[in-house]
Structures are given as C-alpha cells and as structure tokens.
C-alpha cells in the first residue's frame, strides 16, 4: 500500500507540473494517510478496499 501511494504521488508530481513542487513537499502526508488507513480504518471497510486496490 505504501509503495502504491508513493507511486500515485509521483505520477501526480510528473503530470501536474504547476503543482509538482507542492506535491513533492507533501509526500510525507501520503505516508501518514496510508498508515492511518492501515491502522485506524475499521477492518470491515479496510479489508475490502485493500483487496479491491491490490487485486
């Protein structure tokens, strides 16, 4: 999940050059979002979403 989040952020950085710098500086927020998803999301929501994304 962490690799996927980072990859999505990198794609956004490359494809949105006017926002690239701000997206790059905000990369740690992606890490936090993934960690919160893995640890704070209810399992009933988290597991189906993870299966759907990583399937």
């Amino acid at each position: 999940m962490m690799q996927l989040g980072t990859l999505i952020q990198l794609v956004l950085i490359v494809s949105l050059p006017t926002l690239a710098l701000y997206l790059a500086l905000g990369l740690p927020v992606v890490f936090l979002a993934v960690e919160l998803f893995e640890t704070r999301f209810p399992a009933s929501l988290r597991d189906p979403i993870r299966s759907w994304i990583l399937a």
């Binding site: 710098l21 500086l25 740690p28 927020v29 992606v30 890490f31 936090l32 960690e35 640890t39």
Partner: protein, 409 residues
C-alpha cells in the same frame, strides 16, 4: 538549448534502463544505485552552488531553475554519476570510471556548452571539486552498499547525503515554493553565534544515532539497508527516534536563522513523517524481525521527548583498575549511573562491556560509554567524544574498517 537539457536528463535515464535490461541488478545493487542517486542529488546541488559562488561557471537559462541551478541537469547528473555508470560498469572502480570523463569529456566540451553553461577562469578546478566531493563518492557508495562492505564510510556518506538533502535542497525547495532566500552573507554575526552551536547540538543527536546503529546494529540508519540487530543502547536508551528529533530541531533552528517560518514548519512534516512512514516501518520491519524486543523497547522509550535517565534492559560493566590514575575518581563520578556495575580488575586499561552491544569499548571510549548511563546531558557528551574518537579511526583505517566493528573478544 532545450534539446541539450533534455539529453542531459533523458540520456542518463535511458542509460539506467539499458543497464537494467542488459543485466538485472540484485536487491543490494538496486539500493546502492538509489543511494548513489540521492547522495549525488544533494552534493551536486551544493557543489554547483559553491561553483556559482566562486565564479567557476554560470548558467544562462531561467527555466526550471532552483537557486540558480537547472533542476533537470542536477537530477540528470545525479543519475549519470550514480545509478547509470554503476549499473553499466559495476566492476570498474569509480576513479577509473570518472577520470576519462573529467579529462576527456569535460576538457573538450565544457567550454562549448554556451549559453547553457558559461565557463569561468577556474572552471577545471570546479569540475575536479564536484567530481571529488559528489560523483566519485556516489559511485563508491553504490559499490560499498552492493557489496555490504566499508560500513563506517558508507554511513558517513549516507549522513552527508541526508544532511545535504534535508538542510540544503529541501529548504531551497521550500523557499522556492513559499518564498524566502538564503542570504547567508547578510546574517549578523550574533545570528551565526547562536545558530551554529545549536544546530550542531541538534546534529549531534542524529550523528550519534547513526554511529550507534553502525556500531551496535551492524547496519545503516536507512530502512532499505537496515541494522542486523535491535539497538537499544546509547542514545537509543533515551529516545526512540533520535534522527527524526535531530532533523526537526535542525529545521526549527535553520528556519529561525533564515527568518523563514515555512522552513521551521518542515519540523511539522517530520512529525507527520514519523506518524506515517516511520511507524509503518516499525510495524512492518522491526516488529516482525524483533517480535519481543521491539514492543518492550517501545513501551519504555518515547518517540520524541527524551528520557532524562536511560532505560536499561541489561546491566553493563565498566572494568577499572585501582592502580591506574583517575580510575577511582571516575568510579566516584559514575556512582549515579543507571544500569552500570563497576568491577575492579588488575588490567590497567578501562573496559566497558554491555551484553546488549556487539561493539565493546576500551580506554577513554569505555569511560564515555559508561557516562551515557548517567543522564541525557552526559549521554550527549559521551556521544560527542565517541563520534570524534571512533569516527577518525574508522574513516582513516587503511584496511577494511568493518573489522573494527566486529565483536570484541
């Protein structure tokens, strides 16, 4: 000129792709290539800033610039003199790899890159400087990481890599995005007098952690090249994330010195980074590799606010001699040390032994290691001494310095 700029960025990327197609790299080679790129990124940026300041050369373009440097060329250079050359020619030594480029390519082409680059009178000295400080060490870092050798030199280069990117490149990016300038020559003397010692103190936290992880963990501070053991001694007996704490304090002090609140707010990003990536890494790596040791350690040592007294899992022993001058005074001074026993022996040299450690200390280093059992302030003094004493020995070792870090009998 755009064609040249694209060539200088896309060319190295193409070389990396070609190298990986010709011979896929193993995991350690991939990590070494990444480290070489990151090291090159920070040091090329700094090296070229120094070149601009000395007038060795100048850039004649105003698109995609960061602090007067073309970003694509910095990135392209870090890729070329890092992953590209390392992966293409993994067996060739960095100096032999770079020498023809310095003498041949730069010697023949450097003066013909106008208007992108205009060479100053001492441009060749600048080229040698950048190769010596950025490109050649980057390729050495890739080699040493791939071979898992030269740990002391590797961690030193990784510390430089982090420092350059965290405290030069990142603030430059922040100030480009949010406003602000370095203007170091405009800072008053009293500002330097306040900033430098406090910044060094913040840096001491991080460097002490890096050295401890290398000595006692037999690895680096970067999770991609991790330690082989769980480290809970030295600075890690006081705080769980000393490097992140060091970075956060460094950004706060740098921001105050520059008068830039956005650079100070990078400390908030450090907090976000800890609660995101670091905790993720703890769950997915440390908890799995050390299922009993890690939870016990985290229950007793905090992430951000250091303990005043250390958390000691297993007691250490400092062996002293009654006939050696000064040892009685040392024993008296260490009376309040936590988790430390004093043993009186015949041998005149002091020895520090800790069952939780792989590397054991002797002489003055043993006294320093024992000092770290007293309180947070004494621990900082101890680590300052060990950074100098052990660092000089390790970096200057002629033979494989890894031998120095093997377990002492």
């Amino acid at each position: 000129m755009w064609a040249l700029r694209w060539l200088l960025l896309l060319g190295p990327i193409a070389l990396v792709v070609l190298a990986l197609r010709l011979k896929p790299a193993n995991r350690r080679q991939q990590i070494g290539a990444l480290f070489a790129f990151l090291y090159g990124l920070g040091t090329i940026f700094i090296g070229h800033q120094i070149a601009l300041w000395f007038g060795w050369w100048s850039y004649g373009w105003d698109a995609l610039m960061l602090a007067g440097l073309p970003v694509d060329i910095v990135i392209g250079g870090a890729i070329l003199f890092g992953p590209a050359l390392f992966l293409l020619l993994p067996r060739m030594g960095p100096i032999w790899l770079c020498l023809p480029i310095v003498l041949g390519l730069h010697g023949s082409l450097f003066n013909s890159l106008q208007p992108l680059v205009t060479a100053g009178p001492d441009w060749f000295a600048g080229v040698v400087f950048v190769f010596a400080t950025a490109h050649i060490p980057a390729i050495y870092l890739a080699h040493w990481t791939a071979e898992d050798t030269h740990l002391p030199r590797r961690v030193a280069l990784l510390a430089i890599m982090f420092g350059a990117n965290a405290f030069v490149v990142l603030p430059s990016l922040i100030m480009t995005a949010m406003g602000g300038v370095w203007a170091l020559d405009a800072k008053p003397i009293w500002g330097w007098i306040v900033f430098l010692p406090s910044f060094c103190l913040a840096g001491l936290l991080g460097l002490a952690a890096v050295q401890t992880l290398a000595l006692q963990g037999q690895g680096t501070a970067i999770p991609l090249d991790p330690t082989k053991r769980l480290v809970r001694t030295g600075i890690y007996a006081y705080v769980c994330n000393p490097m992140q704490l060091s970075s956060a304090l460094g950004w706060i002090m740098l921001g105050m010195f520059l008068g830039n609140v956005w650079v100070m707010l990078a400390a908030a990003m450090a907090w976000i980074f800890v609660h995101g990536m670091v905790r993720w890494h703890h769950r997915h790596d440390l908890l799995k590799r050390f299922p009993t040791g890690w939870p016990e350690y985290r229950a007793n040592v905090t992430e951000w606010v250091p303990r005043w007294r250390p958390w000691i899992k297993t007691r250490a022993t400092l062996r002293l001699c009654k006939t050696t001058p000064g040892h009685a005074q040392i024993a008296a001074f260490l009376k309040s040390a936590h988790g430390l026993d004093i043993a009186w022996v015949e041998e005149r040299k002091a020895y520090y032994e800790n069952p939780s450690n792989i590397y054991q200390y002797s002489g003055l280093n043993a006294v320093a290691a024992a000092l770290a059992h007293m309180n947070f302030a004494m621990m900082l003094i101890a680590h300052a001494w060990l950074l100098i004493a052990l660092g000089v020995i390790a970096l200057g070792a002629k033979h494989n310095a890894d031998q120095m870090f093997r377990r002492s009998s």
